[in-house]
Symmetry: C2
Subunit: 337 residues, 2 copies
């Protein structure tokens, strides 16, 4: 391994001079600097991140909490896409990505300790267990944090414009003639509440009544609970003409159940998803859904985190809302009025 010391010997200068020359310090002779840089090149010098980290107390890396208890995690298209664009943007700004887990290690067995152990400059909270509290802890530990989708205390949060997305969806369904609209929501969380509120409000604005039995709760990204909810909705005396699902994956489950009941989509029942995943785009019939802009969300997250790192203690967390767009497909039937 080539070190500054070896370069210093090779060039007959001091370690300090080499260090400065390589870092483009202004107080080094032009010719000396050139000579040193050339030698560094020739000898294949690569700095040591660990030593730098130790000295400057900056790691130039972002920790990402991306932990799956279940089988979601990286396999979850929505989060994977966001991570991809976050990673890309972070790298452009000079940060590497480090995956933070809650597995036990030399640091303990929680996200915050893990991030401290690796001295992450900032942490992106994407998905994990008990993630809501850890934003607070991170900030207390002096580590800037940004969350996506989740609402996390004391952190900037990047999220889709769930209110508008849901509103547009309901309006679209309404415009197609639907008046008995059922909704399946994911487990209770800020995002769910926003979507639910927007659903109720928009229905009210349109003069659409929503009986309690038309609203069901299931889990995000979970087929079984979506299927169960679907079964209950189909069994109602006055069957809804359209069912809104919490995400595309759940909608696929619902669609399967609807067809299993001998009903056709959208002939007998219309459905919508949420996310705009590949699954939705290539389902047959093509799914009507709301596309979340994962690319912009990832980029915004990276920028916000970099800003948080730079501003340090003076950083004021904020909420950043990214528009989402209605993606009409073929699963919502146009009803004669």
């Amino acid at each position: 391994m080539v070190t500054l010391k070896m370069l210093a010997q090779a060039c007959n200068v001091s370690i300090a001079t080499v260090s400065k020359a390589l870092n483009g310090a202004p107080d080094i002779g032009l010719e000396t600097a050139a000579r040193i840089q050339k030698t560094a090149q020739q000898m294949g010098y690569i700095p040591s991140a660990a030593a730098r980290n130790l000295k400057t107390n900056r790691s130039h890396c972002f920790g990402v909490i991306f932990d799956d208890g279940t089988e979601s995690g990286l396999a979850h298209e929505f989060f994977a896409n966001m991570l991809e664009s976050f990673k890309h943007q972070a790298e452009l700004m000079g940060y590497d990505i480090f995956l933070i887990s809650g597995q036990p290690g030399p640091w303990g067995s929680d996200y915050v300790s893990h991030a401290r152990y690796r001295n992450c400059d900032g942490v992106l909270i994407m998905v994990g267990d008990n993630v809501v509290s850890c934003g607070q802890e991170l900030v207390m530990a002096g580590i800037p944090a940004v969350a996506v989708d989740y609402g996390v205390d004391n952190c900037s949060t990047i999220h889709s414009d769930n209110v508008r997305g849901m509103a547009e969806l309901v309006r679209y369904v309404h415009s197609q003639g639907h008046r008995t609209i059922a909704a399946v929501f994911g487990e209770d969380c800020p995002v769910t509440r926003l979507r639910a509120a927007s659903f109720y409000r928009t229905c009210a604005e349109l003069g659409v009544e929503v009986p309690d039995e038309y609203v069901r709760t299931s889990l995000y990204h979970d087929m079984d609970s979506a299927i169960l909810a679907t079964r209950q909705l189909l069994a109602l005396p006055r069957r809804p003409t359209c069912i809104l699902y919490p995400d595309d994956y759940a909608a696929i489950g619902g669609m399967n159940e609807i067809e299993r009941a001998g009903l056709s989509i959208p002939g007998d029942v219309s459905v919508t998803g949420f996310d705009g995943s590949l699954l939705a785009r290539y389902a047959r019939p093509r799914m009507t859904t709301v596309q979340q802009n994962t690319r912009d969300m990832g980029i915004a997250a990276a920028r916000e985190l970099a800003r948080a790192v730079e501003e340090g203690r003076g950083f004021l967390p904020r909420d950043i809302t990214i528009p989402c767009t209605l993606l009409p497909g073929e699963t919502v039937r146009k009803l004669g009025l």
Copy 2:
């Protein structure tokens, strides 16, 4: 930040003693050790990975090359799933995951330098540009490397049993009565060659003739080229009864094109994919495909890489083959004979 020095002061012992006590060295008094550990706990001590790294020259982290020039990358379900299980297994063995990019940085602008800069204990080569040569370079730089799917010089490689997978697929299609079988292959690479060879061989064994015009080349995970190939195949005077696609995604593209031509699946044309993705499972009709065991592949990769790290210079690279399984769906019609 709490350091060993601070603990030493708090406990009225030397730094060395604290270090040993915390690392469970055998030559420390039982009572002293307990006292130190308790204090460390109370003061919230967390070791510094950077300092450890610098001193021991071990980072306890695996670099992962997961770089997308295009829009594939993490969004690619097959790789994302593998990364997920790799990550999990690596963490169990005490390694963290660091994402390596080819973006320019303080190290230069290639994967190998990046891995050296961060002092990765080992590198997993998943997907990236010019990845084939970098295995060699990594090994020369003294960094153990393992590749998945790709064949990379001087590295252990984890891959599906493409030969058997393709053979089973062809035999299945044949068993359903198909005798005019077309195949679309991905771009040229070791995996493609194995699959192609297996295709030809199995067809020969079954006495199925394969005219040249029945075989087309497209790109993996690319709709446009799959659509083009499909169009060409459908235009043949003697239209094949079944088309094998290089992956599920491409197959979806092919299916769309087939239906656009006014043909039904599997009524007029049967199709198969490769991968066993969600897309295949939830396509309608459900896609017949070959499921790659991403979970076992990821675990095997992590184990192999850990082994490579432990064995150091004496490590002998090898090829590890993971079985894949036929996943019959509804896209292959049973033909009367």
